[in-house]
């Protein structure tokens, strides 16, 4: 006779409620695992999925992701002329908070040379790449837009011609691709009042420098803001070229900073992602500890509830293994059922989370192992208590 199963059958409601509770706790641990891995995965997604060998950024800066980098747009031509460079393309990236799909959203705009340049979107899940120099965009599905929709950025509307899936910035926000001139326009565009203020300031500077108002009016259009800058130049190396040598050449002769994709990745991991990774890791450990303590308490309470029955069994002459099996089996049932519920719940809902959840099978397996071993160890507390219970407890009223 399986006493543990009999007890479960007798108290189905209580066991189901306990399994749901413990399962939700385990689900939170699995979600935290997913967020932990998702944070890293999102953080380096763009770096890993931009098919480039070198990132050329502003001198003495760790851009374009960890800090701002501004370099002249034309710089890509000088980089392209460097020995060992097969292709160089301008690239601009910046975060915005705009209305998209009917709600305010934060997303990152990437501008690239749409006519064969580097830095464009990877494989599309629907639609096509940008074919025109203006007013077309490729967006990630996470933004909530569909093919044919349009999004207003500044004074223009941009038609969605292609969709990506999983294209996110380091914060997990979706990416929106534009042609380089469009991206620059959206970034540097000013409303009329700001535009007037800039013109007035420029005019004042010119007049202060001794130009007449007529001369200043003629010179003003030449003083464009910063619309000729980009964030980085992406480089694809020629076959057999040494990335270190090419990078040093660009640094020495063009006064830019150069990072390989691996270095850019390391910068991201050691910079923007470091603190968040540490915080999430700490939360993960704390959650596991709290979960194990709660499971231990539950198993202990389940044992204490049956202590008189256990004493009676011992008085009747039941061997220790009968008692151990009763407690251990319930612990196993509780752990297995709770984890199965947690796993199913997380797998059914992970697409609905605002952050990317990356559920690695081996990590899920390790988490299960920790809970299983933890559950077994926790049941030891109950087992010790049960084995120490004197049979004489069964006597008396």
């Amino acid at each position: 006779m399986d006493l543990a199963i009999k007890d479960v059958q007798r108290h189905v409601g209580k066991f189901v409620a306990t399994i749901l509770g413990v399962g939700l706790l385990m689900a939170i641990v699995l979600i935290m695992n997913g967020i932990f891995q998702g944070n890293t995965s999102d953080g380096v997604w763009l770096i890993d999925n931009t098919a480039t060998d070198l990132w050329v950024v502003e001198y003495r800066r760790g851009g374009p992701f960890n800090e701002q980098s501004r370099i002249p747009e034309d710089a890509w031509k000088s980089v392209a002329a460097t020995p060992g460079v097969a292709q160089a393309s301008p690239f601009i990236i910046y975060a915005v908070q705009r209305e998209a799909a009917g709600r305010g959203q934060q997303f990152t705009i990437i501008g690239y040379d749409v006519f064969g340049g580097l830095g464009g979107p990877g494989p599309l899940v629907a639609g096509r790449s940008i074919n025109w120099a203006h007013y077309e965009t490729v967006v990630d599905m996470k933004l909530g837009l569909k093919l044919g929709d349009s999004i207003q950025l500044g004074v223009h509307d941009y038609s969605v011609v292609g969709l990506t899936k999983g294209a996110v910035d380091s914060g997990g926000n979706p990416l929106l691709y534009l042609s380089l001139p469009d991206a620059q326009e959206v970034l540097y565009q000013q409303d009329n009042r700001a535009h007037e203020a800039t013109l007035a300031a420029d005019r004042k500077r010119l007049e202060g420098a001794g130009y007449t108002p007529a001369q200043a009016a003629k010179l003003l259009p030449l003083l464009s803001g910063g619309s000729g800058t980009i964030s980085a130049v992406l480089v694809r190396l020629a076959h057999g070229a040494d990335a270190r040598k090419v990078g040093r050449h660009i640094e020495d002769w063009l006064y830019f900073n150069v990072y390989t994709t691996q270095q850019e990745r390391d910068l991201m991991l050691a910079g923007k992602l470091k603190k968040m990774t540490a915080i999430l890791g700490l939360f993960r450990v704390l959650l596991v500890i709290v979960s194990l303590v709660i499971i231990a308490l539950l198993i202990y309470v389940l044992t204490v509830e049956k202590i008189k029955a256990i004493a009676t069994l011992k008085l009747m002459g039941a061997a220790n293994w009968v008692i151990v099996r009763l407690i251990l089996e319930q612990s196993v049932v509780l752990t297995l059922a709770s984890f199965a519920f947690a796993w199913a719940l997380v797998n059914l809902t992970h697409d609905r989370f605002p952050r990317t959840l990356v559920l690695l099978p081996n990590e899920t397996l390790i988490t299960f192992g920790v809970f299983f071993v933890g559950g077994m160890l926790a049941s030891l507390v109950g087992i010790i208590h049960a084995l120490r219970t004197p049979p004489s407890l069964a006597l008396g009223g």
Binding site: M1, L3, K6, D7, Q9, R10, H11, K308, A309, T312, L313, K314, L315, M316, G317, A318, A319, V322, P390, P391, S392, A394, L395, G396, G397
Partner: protein, 226 residues
Amino acid sequence: MAILQVEGLSKIFGHGETAVTALRNVSFSVECGELMALLGPSGSGKSTLLLCISLILEPTTGRIVMNEQTVYDNAWMGVDERRFRRENIGFIFQGHNLIPFLSARDNIAVALEINGVSGRAARQRAGELLDFLELGHRAKALPANLSGGEQQRVAIGRALANSPPLIFADEPTASLDTGRGTKVMELLKRIARERQTAVIAVTHDVRMIEGFDTVWHMEDGQMVKE
């Protein structure tokens, strides 16, 4: 034939000035099929005696022979006390102590399975015992759905499951009204007569021991035969 012989049994708790003597040179014997009642006020040593002869509490001195085997002679004689208990002693408790998550039949069957009887045979034997106790129709009922008298009868069935030569009943009627208590005692008498099982019943209630073969009084750790 004496199924239980106790000679010069003493039990002292503690040492020196704080020592408390719970049993003083207790001697008695019980024959097969004998009904023995043990009366006495609280604290007189009845429970201590029951624990000692159940092989749960080690006496200080004396000798216990049960079913022709010396189990204690100023020291335990190396018997596997749990195995010895399940083969030789059936227990009936004041509060029934049925396992709450097992049905009436499973409560009896579990005692058999603990003693190595396979599941199917255990359930069959449990069913027969329930029929003997006129509880066959309540086999699937959980203890919470049984009356006090029915619960105590199931407890008796559990005590009888392994056909032990001895049954220890600790206040078996304490939680029952007079009518149900009398019925339980009648059942114990019937078991002793029909199955030649010796019954040692500890009780406060002298009305319940009518028809018992021997009645012992216990006071301050000493036993006196009535």
